[in-house]
Amino acid sequence: MQRRKFIKGATLASFASLVGAEIVYGLKMPAGYVPLALQEPDPFKLFKKDAGMVVLNDKPWNMEAQAHLLDDKVTPSSKMFIRNNGLIPEDINIASWKLTIDGESVKNQKSYSIDDLKSKFKAYTYQLTLECGGNGRSEFDPPAKGNQWTVGAVSCAKWTGLRLRDVLEDAGYNNDAVYIGYHAADLHLSRNPEKEPISRGAPMAKALQDETLIAFQMNGEDIPLAHGYPLRLVAGGWPASVSGKWLTKISIRNKVHDGAKMEGSSYRVPCETVAPGEKVADEDMCIIESMPVKSLITYPKSGAMLSEGKKLSIRGHAWAGELEVAQMDYSIDFGSTWHSCILEKPVNRLAWQHFSAEVDFPKKGYYEVWARATDSRGKAQPMLLPGWNPKGYLNNACHRIAVKIG
């Protein structure tokens, strides 16, 4: 804290000396902005995260959970992954915060204060699964570039907010509307105010779903800063990058939104499957929509040692993007035989489902418990890595834990 105070009165030159290098875009730094290298160095304190969370990147912040940390039925903020593309906005003033609805297909461009939104529209609460498109990227071979997420870039918190549909209808839109694109208050890493770190969106059909929210609360409290305070678009079941944080504007587009990280290879996979390592032209890449079926064993933590004859209770969550999980199985013999788990219904559409099972082990030895979810259309998680893609998205291979009976 002492350090922060000291920094406040400092000049650019003293910043540079503290960072140990010239701050190349220093002159473009907004007044009062504390360079990331000097921001509170402890992300666990800064974002109030559980000590077991793993920092993948500190500029921008990216942190993931571990399977056993995700045991709660509703993910608390302390165990929720952070995937930021730019710098977290500073000096957020909710009294002057505006959400604007514009775009080629809007009937009446409108701006709302947070109070307007809260008083004018009915609020709804849903538990919504948000998984980073790149969750599991670290397993792809050849490796894909980007943050090397393992299994922990997924969460299912309770979000409260207005239906995006109600706000879009209040502004009105023409028949040619095909997509919405969000804009937000975060800052590009190059500190160029002309550039947006990320500006993605979804087709109108997704935008108009009951569960697609402009959220102002998470788990019954103000949304934590790292997760989008004061407003966040929340579109469960789709890559979490669709759920734009620090929301300032929704554009109703008459074409597929072309904001930052909508084009090129970002959040896209080859339209046709390719061999591992194959080059894919941008025009052959298709935007990811619903996330695939997936599950996690959240109890016990991998590495449990039990005495012979003891049963092991396992539990976890399963989700399937836009769909529901229809069947949940486990195997202790590397997929030779599968046994069904007890599977609960979701509390609402797009929420993850809880599963549990009692596992018997025939004799002493090393085991792996593998979990496999099957969606309502009969698609199951693969035991091997699914289709390779250049950016390493959509790894929904079965999760497994190691167990020793002895």
Binding site: G20, E22, D58, L189, E368
Partner: protein, 161 residues
């Protein structure tokens, strides 16, 4: 006579040491006061300078930034090898060294990544440094074969009650 000279020499020596000790105490006390004051008022030396000044005052932290321990550059985590300096200078301005260190790519894919950053993320022309950086990364962080599914490793075994 001889004894007297010795005595006066000894006395002179003693006085010298005495003066030195006093001087040391005074200097330490002055520094103590300055440091004490700086703790109370850390902005004391922040004279209102033009914010755009480019001079970089040399301070202790600057030395720490260059520190190498067991072949690792402590502040970034990079392996100390030819090309490290160019990599730090060009690759850690916008994003963290952690993003670089997580990745394992071939020369061709690093080149493609650099182009993507130049086209979309405001990365400058790296000139002759480009090959130096790519050589550094592919030499020190080569891709590892993982196959279609790797074995579980680094299992933290514990007794489950």
């Amino acid at each position: 006579m001889k004894e007297d000279t010795n005595k006066s020499n000894l006395k002179k020596e003693f006085e010298k040491v005495y003066r030195l000790a006093i001087l040391t105490i005074v200097i330490v006390a002055i520094f103590g006061l300055i440091i004490g004051y700086l703790i109370i008022n850390p902005q004391f030396f922040d004279f209102k300078k033009d914010d755009s000044t480019t001079e970089l005052p040399e301070i202790a932290i600057e030395e720490d930034f260059d520190k190498i321990e067991n072949g690792i550059h402590v502040s970034t985590g990079f392996v100390d090898a030819p090309g490290m300096k160019e990599t730090i200078q060009n690759c850690t301005n916008c994003h963290s060294s952690k993003l670089v260190l997580q990745n394992r790519m071939t020369a061709e894919r690093w080149k493609a990544t650099i182009r993507w950053m130049q086209e979309t993320q405001n990365l400058w022309d790296l000139g002759a440094n480009e090959d130096i950086i790519i050589d550094y990364l592919t030499t020190n962080y080569p891709p590892k074969e993982k196959g279609r599914r790797a074995a579980l490793t680094d299992i933290d075994w514990y007794e489950l009650k």
